[in-house]
């Protein structure tokens, strides 16, 4: 099975080379995306088979490539299989979408070679079983995605986004190299099997945790390392944005889970506190940024930051429960986090596809110039609505189930013995609730301003529905959102082997429960049945509709809008994205963004219009990144002198460095 998976990866790499050969031929788009679709579907089926196998045994494979003394090790266990399902599902959907969307691409030769390579790289990260192949695939993934971000490098802002992404990706990989270096220890045992058996000291473990949090966290978009994400993800073509937000961030989560739950050994309780608190802050910061954003794709990218925060809350709780020997609670928290990984990849891909459809139809990403698209693009609008409801954690969709499970894990925190955790976890619960409520507000804004109301520009007035392939990809994902929300028990059962392997326990299986109810701990404690809720709501709505149309009036008359008697025909009088988020900006923005509003009122009798100036500052950027950049520039200025030394001076420097390093080594040992 592992060999077949690697075969899929090889097929993708061949497709990547083939894309270079085909160059700009008209056939290339269809051919490459078809191959990518085939390989992804095959990979998805293989991963599903591995995950759902009755008695999963990790498959391993060693290939004589890579470092001569190490080779390349690959391994397929439950954790890898689950993330492979997520990655290949996202990959398949993006390829299907690309079949339609790719035709509008102005420079396909800049996208086609990198797209399958990016998919291959993500698959490779998930099966890598030694530090070298892991880091190599990780870097390969970063570079291919960077190339895709730079596909439209002429557009303003994209070059900056690419540069920032490259910087942050290098930083993340540096942190991961150091983490693996610490894990491998003096002996340099870089294969994961050897790392697993070693047990690092508490200090070493803490250092590895911090490095993994920085390395994987910067790729996933944890605050404060998230700054590149909302710039880079939207800059790529939309199906690649979907892959980066929906899948690549999940690969980063995989890296974190692999290191902290599998490789480093037993966790300490405060790791959980650190990770969960970072997650909570990330969730709220992400959604607040998203609320202030008017660019549809960038708004979605900020929501990725939010959802990564929710996932890390679950992971942090799982670490805390694991450290306190509470396997059932740890399994609950981990299942919640992993289920959210799956859910987020599904609805975020769906939403980015929707944004891509809007982009091709109108050429606009700015919500303030859209509006009324529900009349022109009814199918896209409906599917985007499903995605919006799912990401806002509304029942009966899937986002609610995983957030509900996370809440159930949070409610178990009183059993934790540490006082810090007892006090911290309820506060994190409040942050989670806040982010869920703000996400709903944000998606009312995103959907309402883009699709509802009246068209704010000519392009929005003339938009046309998107092609069938794109609609097919979106429809599949929307159906999955509903199925995973209505029948979560199946998905939770599929996650049982992963939870069992990492925490030593898993959630109650659905066979012991009636009617596909999900029960995190015990029936008397809490339970949820999405199917029953869905049926009840459908029944109630149908009953109301039937009763009304049978017994009451069903006449309809079209008339101008009422608007309290003063309707204005100009679409400019509608609420905009900026005005929609104004109350929330007033409430939260003054602290988080140092938001300032100034009204410039012309003198009485003057004919020019009044103006409202809104100033938002990214406090993190100002306090963290600007000083860091300044320090680097300053250091570079001073080190510049070293570039113009004589050969003797250089030799002295080299000799001095050698002596110093040998001295360090001698003292250390």
């Amino acid at each position: 099975m592992l060999a077949a998976l690697l075969g899929c990866v090889a097929l993708l790499l061949v497709a990547s080379v083939g894309a270079i050969a085909l160059a700009d031929r008209r056939l290339a788009t269809t051919a490459i995306y078809s191959v990518a679709l085939t390989a992804s579907v095959a990979g998805l089926l293989l991963a599903l088979a591995a995950l759902l196998a009755p008695a999963p045994v990790p498959a391993t494979l060693a290939l004589p490539i890579g470092l001569p003394w190490l080779g390349a090790h690959f391994r397929l266990d439950a954790l890898s299989a689950f993330f492979l399902v997520v990655a290949n599902l996202g990959g398949a959907a993006a390829s299907l979408y690309g079949l339609g969307y790719g035709r509008h691409e102005e420079a396909p030769a800049r996208v086609l070679p990198f797209f399958p390579a990016f998919l291959a790289a993500m698959n490779l990260v998930l099966v890598a079983d030694d530090a070298f192949s892991f880091l190599f695939s990780w870097e390969f993934m970063s570079l291919t995605s960077w190339a895709l971000v730079m596909a439209h490098h002429q557009r303003s802002g994209n070059a900056t986004a690419g540069y920032l992404y490259l910087l942050m990706a290098s930083f993340g990989t540096l942190a991961l190299i150091l983490a693996f270096g610490l894990l491998a220890g003096w002996s340099g045992a870089y294969d994961f099997a050897a790392i697993r058996t070693a047990s690092p000291s508490a200090l070493m473990g803490a250092a590895v945790l911090a490095l993994a949090l920085a390395g994987a966290g910067s790729k996933a978009g944890l605050v404060p390392l998230h700054v590149w994400l909302p710039l880079a993800h939207p800059a790529a073509p939309s199906h690649v944005s979907a892959l980066m937000s929906g899948v690549m961030t999940k690969v980063a989560v995989y890296g974190f889970v692999r290191i902290t739950f599998d490789l480093v050994g037993a966790p300490l309780w405060w790791w959980g506190a650190l990770v969960a608190l970072t997650g909570g802050i990330t969730a709220v910061m992400g959604v607040l940024h998203a609320l202030m954003e008017h660019d549809l794709k960038r708004l979605l990218a900020y929501h990725t930051v939010e959802n990564i925060g929710i996932i890390f809350i679950g992971l942090g709780l799982a670490l805390a429960f694991s450290a306190n020997e509470m396997p059932a609670a740890a399994a609950l928290a981990l299942t919640a986090a992993l289920f959210h990984v799956f859910n987020h990849s599904v609805f975020k891909s769906l939403l980015f596809f929707g944004a891509g459809a809007v982009l091709t139809a109108t050429g606009e990403r700015d919500m303030e110039r859209l509006g009324g698209l529900i009349h022109r693009m009814p199918r896209t609008a409906f599917l985007f609505l499903v995605g919006s409801a799912a990401i806002s954690a509304l029942p009966p969709f899937n986002g609610f189930v995983s957030e509900w499970l996370t809440f159930q894990a949070i409610l178990l925190s009183p059993a934790l013995p540490q006082w810090l955790l007892k006090f911290l976890v309820p506060a994190i619960g409040a942050l989670l609730a806040l982010s869920a409520a703000l996400a709903a507000a944000c998606f009312v804004k995103a959907f309402g301003v883009t699709f509802l109301g009246r068209a704010r520009s000519q392009v929005a007035r003339e938009a046309l529905e998107t092609d069938r392939c794109s609609l097919g990809a979106m429809f599949t994902l929307a159906a999955l959102c509903l199925v995973a929300g209505v029948l979560p028990a199946w998905f939770i059962d599929a996650l049982a082997p992963v939870a069992q392997a990492l925490t030593g326990s898993h959630l109650p299986e659905r066979h012991g429960l009636d009617w596909l109810t999900i029960v995190p701990i015990a029936q008397s404690r809490s339970s949820y049945n999405g199917l029953l809720l869905f049926v009840l709501i459908a029944f109630a709505a149908a009953l109301a509709a039937a009763a009304i149309h049978r017994f009451a009036s069903d006449r309809v008359r079209r008339a101008p809008a009422w608007d309290c008697g003063f309707p204005d025909p100009s679409p400019a009088t509608q609420y905009t994205a900026g005005s929609f988020s104004q109350p929330i900006r007033r409430v939260f923005g003054t602290v988080v963004f140092r938001a300032r509003e100034e009204v410039e009122m012309p003198a009485p009798g003057a004919t020019q219009s009044a103006r409202l100036h809104v100033q938002l500052r990214d406090v993190l950027w100002d306090t963290l990144y600007v000083p860091a950049a300044r320090a680097v520039a300053l250091a570079a200025d001073h080190l510049n002198a070293v570039q113009f030394l004589t050969i003797r001076a250089y030799l002295t420097l080299v000799f001095g460095a050698l002596v110093a390093l040998l001295a360090v080594l001698a003292i250390w040992q």
């Binding site: 619960g429 409520a437 509802l452 339970s527 949820y528 608007d563 929609f580 007033r586």
Partner: protein, 318 residues
């Protein structure tokens, strides 16, 4: 047999909440009018309003889409289902296990999501102002609500409403400061969620501070009837929730027979009357606040909820 009885109770509850909800609203209106020295509309006026709205034709704005027409049915259905899952006179509802109190709050969130979208659909400034403010209020009310849930689940070890009611009925819980704080927080949230004074004014129709009424300004006929019915149901839901959790006396449990159900129903209606009276007195005594003071109001609710949870930790540890 037991299943049939349980199912019967559940169906009875579905019908009961629908029948009683307009009565509660009518009662509050009548009492408020009396308190300010007016005669007020008849007690059954909400039923008549609904009946008349259902008979009238719908006037649909030209820019309205399918979402505008579908939303009332979904809003009504979700609110109705949520209201039917809160124990009113009997615990141990047969569908109760489908949704705990978090899911019930989320169902209301789904209804609000649809309503806010419907407010934006026609593309008028009033709809937008209502949606925008409603979502701002919700973004503060939901965390406060969750903190209350947290406190209750700490005490009862469950988020299932039947279990919470049973646990709070037992003598070992007793009177606690945390419960009082949670009650105050929950009442504040309920006022905000139901668009009552001091957060919003249910009686106003042309005011720049209105929230709920602004969102539904474009609705008419049967659509408006459904949305009005949903807001009556929501008020009943919150009253039932507060009664079930903080005043769980007189609730019939699943095992008891018909007589117990009857007396429990009488107790429940008495509780509704008391809650309606309290709400009318409160609304008459207090003034509506500015929109941007609402964040202070709900922030206080959130802090009270958090305080209640933390206080429980401290008292349980000693």
């Amino acid at each position: 047999m037991a299943i049939a009885l349980a199912l019967g109770v559940q169906l009875l509850q579905l019908a009961l909440v629908l029948v009683l909800a307009p009565l509660l609203t009518g009662l509050v209106r009548k009492l408020k009018a009396h308190l300010v020295g007016r005669q007020g509309p008849p007690l059954l006026q909400p039923y008549r309003d609904l009946a008349r709205l259902l008979r009238k034709e719908v006037v649909l704005a030209e820019s309205a889409s399918w979402l505008f027409r579908a939303a009332p049915y979904l809003i009504f259905a979700t609110t109705w289902v949520a209201a039917a899952l809160v124990p009113t006179f009997a615990t141990g509802l047969v569908f109760g296990y489908a949704a705990d109190v978090i899911a019930i709050v989320a169902l209301l969130g789904a209804a609000r999501f649809m309503l806010a979208l419907a407010g934006l659909d026609v593309g008028t400034s009033f709809g937008g102002i209502g949606s925008s403010r409603e979502m701002m209020i919700a973004s503060l009310a939901e965390p406060a609500m969750l903190m209350v849930v947290f406190t209750l689940s700490l005490l009862a070890g469950s988020t299932q409403l039947s279990s919470i009611a049973a646990a709070l009925q037992s003598p070992e819980v007793g009177l606690r400061v945390s419960l009082a704080l949670a009650l105050v927080a929950l009442i504040m949230v309920a006022l905000a969620e139901n668009a009552r004074i001091p957060v919003d004014n249910p009686a106003t129709h042309l005011e720049l501070t209105m929230v709920h009424e602004a969102m539904i300004l474009e609705y008419s006929g049967r659509h408006l009837a459904l949305i009005e019915a949903a807001s009556y149901l929501k008020l009943l839901l919150y009253v039932s929730l507060i009664a079930c959790v903080f005043f769980p006396w007189g609730l019939a449990s699943a095992a008891q027979g018909g007589g117990a159900y009857l007396s429990a129903a009488v107790v429940y209606i008495a509780k509704l009357g008391a809650a309606g009276f309290a709400l009318a007195v409160f609304e008459t005594a207090i003034a509506k606040m500015r929109v941007f003071r609402v964040s202070d109001f709900l922030g206080a609710a959130l802090m009270l909820g958090l305080l209640a949870a933390l206080l429980l930790f401290v008292t349980q540890a000693t």
